[in-house]
């Protein structure tokens, strides 16, 4: 059963990587990533996102041809494991073109999320 759960967790972003329990969504916020369509480059450094992400309230606020970044903070109710997921996508009319998913496990973006919450 443990093995099946571990395999299952690969396909579920919201499953705890340690105990494979379904995690709780603690925070969700949409941002604009100032990169133009066709010029996306992946960054794994949290500082890049701290410097460049611009908070928006809805997808319609993102200019045409710019990327969107959805940040979701998860916490495992069982073991307390925390993870922040960045989903980067290109909003195209009513659709979304998925680009990348980046994970931060050590709370690298926590202060940034707190600050943008206050703003």
């Amino acid at each position: 059963m443990g093995l099946f759960k571990k395999i299952g967790s690969i396909f579920h972003d919201d499953w705890c990587r340690k105990c494979q329990t379904k995690m709780e969504e603690k925070k969700r916020q949409l941002y604009m990533l100032p990169m133009t369509v066709g010029h996306y480059s992946s960054h794994s450094d949290a500082n890049y996102y701290k410097k460049n992400l611009i908070k928006v309230n809805k997808k319609a606020d993102i200019p045409v041809g710019k990327y969107a970044c959805g940040i979701i903070k998860y916490k495992c109710p069982k073991c307390g494991y925390k993870i922040t997921k960045l989903s980067i996508f290109l909003p195209v009319r009513e659709q979304e073109k998925y680009e990348d998913s980046i994970y931060f496990e050590n709370g690298e973006l926590d202060d940034f999320i707190r600050e943008s919450e206050r703003a």
């Binding site: 133009t36 369509v37 066709g38 200019p63 045409v64 041809g65 290109l90 195209v92 009319r93 659709q95 073109k97």
Partner: protein, 195 residues
Amino acid sequence: MENKKIKKINFVYLLGYIFGPVILCAICFTLGMFICPDGGTMAVVLFMCPPLLSMVWWICAGRFLFKRKKKALEKELDEQGFSRNQTFYGDGCMVVIDTNKGNMALLFFWNPFEKQIFPVSRIEKAWVDDGRSGAGFLEGSSRVSFLFKVDGITVRVNTFTSNQRWRMDTDYILTGISKADMMVKVIEDAKKKVK
């Protein structure tokens, strides 16, 4: 600033590009028949080289020339103080927009010797063609482009082309639509700024 009409094709260049090598081949073949009717190295050169060179010319020369002219245009625009706020490199046309001054520069594949700069106020309308066709599960597109009308002449710039039809929700089509939407928005914003 140029006030003359947009010219998408330079017919002298187009005809020269197509028939130039044909004429060269005809001349070389004729010379080959008269100069060396008995064969030899000269005959091989006259009969073999022109067709090979023609093939190379038709496949590479246009792209090579267009690439060089694009670079030259960018340099020239920078020297003129044209702010290249948005540049789109289409397969048949290069579009550069200066949103501050409200100017647009165009360079066409079939008219590479003429840079065409004009105010965006001359653009009557700009729109996106997603190339959607077919019904049901066959619905898709093989070309996405943005178009604009200048002095009654429609210019189409492709943001995506393919030799097969793709579903409308594929990454290729969505990227093409996004690029086209963005270019139309830039044109419209530049027009508003000028007004």
